[in-house]
């Protein structure tokens, strides 16, 4: 289990507390619904941030391991290691998901819309159920 799982549990609890406020009719519904939207966006972005960190670390780990090889490929890996900082997240995803084209393509699409969510409360349809979406991220992390 990674930190993403803890994030999901925290989201479930906070979403449930807000839902209870809505049920008990404490405060205006519009405010409570807005809080819920803010909560969703916040945890959507937090989930991404944690996933991105784990992708970075895992890619670095694989590059380090391969760079130790005394083979022809080892030179390429060592070159990659020296230029690790310039390796974009998408390139790192290529490394981790080269055998899972479907997951890789889905992540590419997700990355395109992620920044939209950051500044304009736009969560893609695939991630409208934040809890389920965080679980999917956790499942991807477990495949590393």
């Amino acid at each position: 289990m990674s930190k993403v799982d803890e994030t999901r549990r925290a989201y479930d609890k906070l979403a449930s507390l807000l839902d209870q406020e809505i049920r008990k009719r404490s405060g205006t519904t519009a405010d409570l619904e807005q809080f819920r939207r803010s909560l969703d966006v916040a945890f959507y972005l937090l989930g991404w941030a944690q996933f991105e960190y784990l992708v970075r670390k895992e890619a670095e780990d694989r590059i380090e391991t391969n760079a130790r090889a005394h083979t022809l490929d080892g030179h390429a890996w060592r070159y990659l290691k020296e230029n690790m900082k310039s390796l974009s997240v998408r390139r790192r995803l290529d490394l981790l998901f080269h055998a899972d084209a479907k997951a890789r393509a889905a992540l590419d699409r997700d990355y395109d819309v992620r920044n939209e969510a950051a500044h304009d409360y736009k969560i893609p349809a695939e991630a409208r159920d934040i809890s389920d979406w965080l679980l999917k991220l956790e499942n991807l992390v477990s495949k590393f």
């Binding site: 839902d19 209870q20 049920r23 008990k24 009719r25 619904e33 304009d120 736009k122 409208r128 159920d129």
Partner: protein
């Protein structure tokens, strides 16, 4: 006399921000704007979407353009923001213009048009994801003044496209040289591909269908509870529906009713509509109970809803939501 939606004073005549805010308040002025941009209809492609802008509802006339007039299928783009300005300049059509072409004079102007009276209009196109701010008008006001005084008979205008909230604000100068603003709103929005045209009306109908399905579900629930004499229902609370697709196609936000099932003054169950456009279903309503939140999704087809209760243990498992399922939820409270 022309009714102007906004009047604005040049920045050099005003000071701090409180006054800035005031200068956008609607007023009726006696100055005349020539030609009157507020009566135009403007059709442009923003990248993927084509938008027909025109006068607000109260002033609306027959549409001069329809999707059928928009025969050109342009390649779809990943991000409209990157191509909107170029696409607007390339596809612009205006109801009262005889000809439109790239500007050959007037530095900073994008379009040169001739209206029906033979008047030349130089247009500076600005594309943003927000409404124009006072500072945007400052520079342009000076440029419009310069251009209007230097061009013989030509009229200079600045067109501000808000591609996020779909609005077109046209800044021009009235006969007295004072700035005048006309706001055009989206009358229609569509996206044309090789195979089909996806229209704003389809989003409107989908939203209407969602409202009807919710209403029917609530009515069913109320009829199922008739034998529970200790329970009552209320639909007085509302939640705001503002889906991304609605915003993209200029469909107004919609208030949806929340259904509360009450015992005395205590709410046992609240049905809160949460989303229409979701993957794998035709809408989602959250059922908030004292013991937690359950998801209710419609997995039916058009015209035949099939409400399914998502398992608390697994999001992949669902069961029929009917009177028996509702009774179980009520008894658990």
């Amino acid at each position: 006399m022309v009714r102007l939606l906004d009047r604005w004073m040049p920045l050099k005549h005003v000071s701090a921000s409180p006054i800035h805010k005031q200068r956008h308040e609607p007023t009726i002025m006696s100055g005349e704007v020539t030609p009157d941009p507020s009566q135009r209809q403007v059709m442009v492609n923003l990248g993927n979407r084509t938008v027909l802008f025109g006068p607000s509802a109260a002033l609306r006339h027959v549409s001069h353009f329809a999707p059928e007039d928009d025969a050109q299928v342009l390649p779809p783009v990943a991000d409209e923001r990157e191509v909107a300005e170029e696409r607007i300049a390339r596809t612009l059509r205006v109801s009262e213009f005889e000809s439109i072409r790239p500007a050959s004079e007037g530095p900073g102007f994008d379009i040169e048009a001739i209206d029906r009276s033979g008047r030349k209009i130089l247009i500076d196109i600005k594309v943003r994801e927000r409404d124009p701010k006072p500072r945007d008008f400052d520079d342009q006001y000076r440029r419009l003044q310069t251009m209007s005084s230097s061009q013989d008979g030509a009229v200079a205008e600045a067109w501000h496209f808000n591609i996020e909230r779909l609005k077109l604000v046209i800044m021009s100068l009235d006969k007295g040289g004072m700035p005048a603003f006309s706001t055009l709103v989206p009358l229609d929005v569509w996206q044309r591909t090789d195979k089909e045209i996806f229209r704003r009306q389809q989003v409107v109908e989908r939203v209407e269908d969602w409202v009807r399905r919710i209403d029917q579900l609530y009515s069913d629930i109320q009829s199922w509870l008739v034998s529970h004499h200790d329970l009552k229902t209320e639909r007085t609370r509302k939640t705001l529906m503002s889906e991304e697709l609605m915003q993209k196609y200029a469909v107004p936000d919609r208030e949806l009713p929340i259904l509360d099932i009450l015992r005395g003054n205590e709410s046992l169950l609240s049905f809160v509509p949460r989303a229409l456009y979701i993957i794998g279903a035709r809408g989602r309503i959250d059922i908030i109970s004292t013991s937690g939140t359950r998801l209710l999704i419609d997995q039916g087809v058009s015209g035949k809803p099939d409400w399914r209760l998502v398992s608390a243990e697994s999001r992949r498992e669902t069961s029929a939501f009917d009177q028996a399922a509702l009774n179980v939820l009520v008894v658990q409270q």
